[in-house]
Symmetry: D2
Subunit: 346 residues, 4 copies
C-alpha cells in the first residue's frame, strides 16, 4: 500500500512533535520532511529523544514533493509558509489560527496582522470532523480548530443545534501548560507554574472569535454571546472546559430532563469514533495522549441551567490528533488510522 508523503512545518514545537509521534506509526502515511527554524540541521532525536527512532534530519525548508503538509507554525508565519505549498498543489492542514476565521477583518484585531490571502478564508474548511466531515473530504486546505474551541464547541453543539439554550454562554476552561507552547516564558517556568492555578486572557483570548463564529453557526447563524475565561493548570496536557448556559423556557424540565439530555447528546454523537458521552465526570487524564473528547452534560435544576464538562488532550484532539483525523478524512483513510492507541493512564 503506497503511503502518502507527509511534511511537518515547525516540528520543534509541541504540536509539531506530537504530529511526528503519531504519524510515525500511521499505516498509510510517511513523514518525509520536517522543518524547524532554530534546529535546522539537527537530528530529530537530538531535539526530542522520544522521536529518536524516526532518524530524520530537521531542515530549514519543506520538501515540496509531499502530498500533504501540516503546519505547526505560529499564526501569520503559518499563512506565509503554506501559501506557496497550496499553489504547488500540496494539501494543507494548518494547525495555526490563520485560516479558522471566516471574516478576514478579525485578524488585525485579534492576531495583529493583515491576512495575506483573505480569498482563501471562504474555501478553508474548519476541521472539526464531527461537524464538517463532508466538507473536509474534498478540502485542499483545512483549518485545524484551536484546542479551547474544540472542547467548547463539541460540548455545546448538541444543545445549540437542538435549540435548547439561550445564546449567551460561559466557558470556563482549564488548560495544561503545554498549551502555552514550548517557547520559554516565566509563567511556564516549573517553579512558577507548579502548585498554582491562575486565570489569564481576561480581556479577550484569541480563541474567542473562533468560538463565537462556530457556536453562532450552530445556533442557526444567530449570534451567540460568549464569556470565555481560560485558566492555567499545573499539569502538562489536557483541557477541561466547563460550559454554562441557561435553558430556554420550557426546555428540558421535569424528572426526565436529565435522561433526555443524555439521550440527545448520545444521539448527536452516535457513531463518532472520537467523542464519548460519559455518565460520570471525566478527568483530563482519561485522554492522555489520545484523540478522545469526553463529554458529560448535566442539569443544574436549581438554576435551570445546562452544565457541560468536556475533556481532551490539547496536543491530540486539540491539535495534532485532530489534524491527523482530518488527513484521514481528506485521503479517505479509516478515520482512526494512526490514532488507535488508548490513553496512557495513570
Amino acid at each position: 500500500m503506497v503511503k502518502v508523503k507527509v511534511g511537518i512545518i515547525n516540528v520543534t514545537g509541541y504540536a509539531g512533535s506530537e504530529l511526528a509521534r503519531l504519524l510515525f506509526r500511521h499505516p498509510r502515511a510517511e513523514v518525509v520532511s520536517v522543518t524547524g527554524r532554530s534546529a535546522a540541521g539537527q537530528k530529530l532525536g537530538d531535539v526530542f529523544p522520544h522521536l529518536a527512532d524516526m532518524d530524520m534530519k530537521i531542515t530549514a525548508e519543506l520538501d515540496r514533493s509531499v502530498d500533504v503538509a501540516f503546519s505547526a507554525m505560529p499564526h501569520k508565519a503559518s499563512a506565509e509558509a503554506v501559501l506557496p505549498l497550496l499553489k504547488a498543489g500540496v494539501k494543507v492542514i494548518d494547525i495555526s489560527a490563520d485560516f479558522r476565521l471566516k471574516d478576514g477583518a478579525l485578524y488585525p484585531r485579534w492576531y495583529q496582522f493583515s491576512h495575506p490571502a483573505p480569498e482563501l478564508l471562504g474555501e478553508a474548511v474548519y476541521g472539526l470532523t464531527e461537524l464538517y466531515r463532508r466538507q473536509i473530504r474534498k478540502a485542499r486546505l483545512v483549518a485545524n480548530p484551536g484546542c479551547y474551541p474544540t472542547g467548547a464547541i463539541l460540548a455545546l453543539a448538541p444543545a445549540l443545534k437542538a435549540g435548547l439554550i439561550r445564546p449567551d454562554v460561559i466557558l470556563d476552561s482549564k488548560s495544561g501548560i503545554s498549551g502555552a507552547g514550548r517557547a520559554l516564558a516565566l509563567n511556564t517556568h516549573f517553579a512558577e507554574a507548579s502548585d498554582s492555578v491562575s486565570a489569564y486572557g481576561l480581556d479577550g483570548h484569541r480563541h474567542l472569535p473562533e468560538i463565537i463564529q462556530e457556536l453562532s453557526l450552530l445556533n442557526r447563524k444567530r449570534p451567540v454571546s460568549v464569556t470565555f475565561i481560560p485558566h492555567l493548570i499545573p499539569m502538562t496536557r489536557g483541557i477541561l472546559t466547563t460550559c454554562y448556559a441557561s435553558f430556554k423556557p420550557g426546555k428540558l424540565s421535569g424528572d426526565s430532563a436529565a435522561r433526555e439530555l443524555m439521550a440527545l447528546y448520545r444521539e448527536f454523537y452516535k457513531g463518532e469514533p472520537f467523542v464519548r458521552v460519559v455518565d460520570t465526570p471525566p478527568g483530563t487524564k482519561h485522554t492522555w495522549g489520545n484523540n478522545y473528547c469526553l463529554i458529560h452534560p448535566v442539569i443544574d435544576p436549581r438554576a435551570n441551567r445546562l452544565v457541560v464538562v468536556s475533556v481532551l488532550d490539547n496536543l491530540v484532539k486539540g491539535a495534532a490528533g485532530q489534524a491527523i483525523e482530518n488527513m484521514n478524512v481528506m485521503f479517505g483513510f479509516d478515520e482512526t488510522a494512526g490514532l488507535e492507541a488508548l490513553a496512557v493512564y495513570p
Copy 2:
C-alpha cells in the same frame, strides 16, 4: 503577657495540623491540648514531622480548662464535640459546617444528620471577619466559613452589596487536593490526581446552601440563585474561584466602568488586613501558607458581565488561618497576630 489557652480537636487532619502550625508561633495564644482519635497517645511530631518542635502528646479527649477550642472534626461529630465545651464556658471556633447554616432543616438534606442543637444556629456567628467583625467580637461560638464559600463570598460581596448584579451567579471553583482532606481515597491518590483536572459535586456540593445563605444576606436578603461547580486541581493547596454574574441594566457601563469597579472593590475592602484587590490576575501560589484572599474583578464588556477571580490558601484563609483571625477578634488581639508570615513563593 498571659496567653490564652487553646485546644485543637482533631489535630490530625489538615485543618487541625495547620492550626497547630500557625498557633505555635502566635504571640498571645498557647496550644495546651490537642486531640485525635486514631493517633491518641502518639507525639504530634511523630504524626507530623514539621510539628516536632511543639513536643506535645495527642490525647483522646480535650483538656476542658482551655479558654478557646478549635474544632477540626468532620461535620456531625464536631457539633457533638463542642456542645459540652460550650456548656463548660469554653469559647468555640468550629471549622466544620455544623453551625454555619441558619436553617437547621438544611442539615438533614445536605449533611445527612439532624442537628443536635438547632437553638444555637441563631447565636452562632458566621466567621467571615470582613463581614461579621462586630458580631464576632462578642461571640462565644463562631462557625468558621467553608473554604469555597470564603473565596466566593469575598469575591462577590462588593458587587452584591452595591446592587450591581443580577441575583443569579455562577461560581467555577478550582481547588487543590488538600481540600479533600487527609483521609485516603482513590481520587486523592497521587497517580490518579496528578496531571488531571476534573469536576465533581455536579449534583450539588455541600457548600452550596452556605454560599446561597450568605450571598442572599448580602443581596438585601433577597434570594440569589447559585450554580456552583468545584474542580479538583493537581496542586496541594489553593482555591481559585471564577465568579460570573450579569450586570443589572444601566450599571457600570462605558469607558470608565472598569475603573469604577476597581474603585468600588478597593473601597469595600479598605483597611482589611487580609483582602487585597489586585490589578493583575492572581495565582493561588501567591497565597501559599498565608491568610490573604486576593481578588481581581473585571468586566467582560461583550457580554456585559462581571467576572471576579479570587484566590486563597484553602487551609489558611479557607480554614485554620481564618479561624485564628476569628480568635484574634474574639479576644481583642491584633487581627494579624500569628498570621503575619508572607506567602511562601515559589
Copy 3:
C-alpha cells in the same frame, strides 16, 4: 491470523490495567478474560475510563481456556493463582516476585511466606529478554523482573560481564508513585507525595535479593555486594537508577576510556529493540508509556568510578511492557509487537 487468547489476573491494579491497555492493540493477541477481586462484575471501562473501548466484564475467576495468562497479583497470591493454570497447560507470565528468586529459602525472609512450589523456581525463566531470550523462547513459566531490578541490571550488565568493575555496587533509584501500586496509603496521597522526595526501604527493599541474584550471575556467578536505596519521586511514572561502582585496577583509564565504555555498552546492546545507549543524560519522561530502557554510562575520572544512569517506565519496561515482550518471544511473534508506540512526550 489466529490470535493467542490472553487472560489477565488482577486487571484492577496498575500493572494489570497497563497490560490491558497495551494488549488491546496487539496484532497477535486478544484479551479474552480479566479478573479482579473487588471489582468482579463491573465493566472494565467503569473502573478505568481509558479502557472503555475494550468493553469487557471483570470476573472473579480466569477463563482457563486462555493460551497465556499474565498474573498481576501481589506476591504469594500470585503463585497460588498461577499453579492451577500451569497444571492446565496455560503458559504463565508472572509479574509478581513469586518465581524470580532461584533460592526458595529467600521467600520467607524477604516476602514472609513459604513458597508453595519451590520445585518450579528452577524451571521458571527470569524474563529479562536482553539476557535470557533463548530460555524464554521455550519457557512455560516466565518470572517478569521487578521494576527496579530491570533498570539496575540493564545498566550494569555490560560492565559486569566485561569484568570492568569491582563486585560492590550502589544503586540509588528514583521511582514515580505508580510504583507503589493503586492501593491507598498515606505516602501516596497527593498532598503528602507531591513536592517531596524521600528515601524508603533503608533496611532492605524486597527487590534486593533479586538484584543480587542477577548481578552475581552476570559476574561469573561470584557474589556482588549491593547497596540499594529507592526513593519516591513526585511523578506518576518512571524510574531512574543511578549506579555507582569502582573500576577494577587497570580497567578503562586514560583519554579514550569514555569512548571505550560507550562502545562496549553499544556493542552489548546491539540489535536490542528496547535498549538504547544514549549520549546525553536521559529523563524518565523520554520513556513515558513505552517499553524503552535508556542507558547513559559515564566515568567519574576523579574517583575512578563508573556511573551509569538508566531510565524506564516502571509500568511498561518495568512491568506490563516487558511482560508482553516476553509473550512475544514465547510465541515467536515480532518482539516489538504491540509495543511500537513512541513515548508520549511531553
Copy 4:
C-alpha cells in the same frame, strides 16, 4: 530596639526574593534597599505579588548606608558587587560561590573567571554555622554555602570528624527545580520538567570543589574523594542528598552499631537549632519554607556501608535562611530570629 539596616543585591532571583520574604518579619533587621538589574524602577510587589506588603522600589544600585548586604548575584558579578561594599565597611554575606573556595586557582577552572580579590579568600568565612559559628561571629565577609554542599556536609560531618568512614564518598542529590534559578531554560519549562527525573552535571558540578574542600577539612585536612551526581526532581523546593561511604575496618559493627551511630550524630548536633537527627526517613516537604536540615543516618550491614539521608529547603537552609542565620550570628542576635516559622506542610 534599633534594627540593622539590610540591603539585598539582586532581589529578583529566588534566593533574593526568599531573603526579602524572611527578612520582612525579622525582629532585628530592616530591609532598606533592594536591587535588581532588569526590574530596576519596578515595585517589589509588581515582580513578586507575595512581597506586596513590603512596598519597596527595586533600584539599580544598593544604598551604601546599609549595615549588612546580602548578595544574591550570580558568581563573578557577585564578587564585583560586594568588593566596594566591603571597602565601605559594609558587612557582606555572599550567597554566590565567589568566596567559598579557599584556593583561588579553582575559580578559572570551575567558574570560568579569574578571581578579582583572591586576597579575601582566606579571610572569608564559610558560613556553615554548625561548623564555623565562632569564626562567623567576627566575620565581615561570609561565604554562604551552596545548597548541595549544605546538605552533604551536614550529613557527613559527624562520621568524618569521628574517623568512621573511608575518604571516598558518593553523594546522590535530588533537587527541586527552583535550585536552577528563575532564569528561563528548557529544562525548567513545566512541560519538560514535570513527571520526569534526570541526572545532570555528570562531568563535574560546580559544587564539587566546595564539597571536597569542606569534607577534607573535616577529615583532618586529608583529601576526600567525592563522586557527586545531582538530579532534577519535579518539585519546586527541596534537596534530598543520599550519602554513601564505607566504614573503616572495625568501626561501628555488631548489634549496637545502629544505636551508636544515632547517638554519635545526636551528640554532634546537640543544641543546634536548625539540625534535627531523625529516626525515620525524612521527606523534603517536612522542611518546606523553613531553615531545618533533617538528617537520618543508617547502616547497610550487608555492605558495611554508612548511608545518610539529609533533606532541606534549598532556598532556606540552602540559601536565604542560612544567610540570615549567619547575619544573626554576626550581629549577636538570637540565631533563630526571623527563622522561627514551622515548615508549611502539606
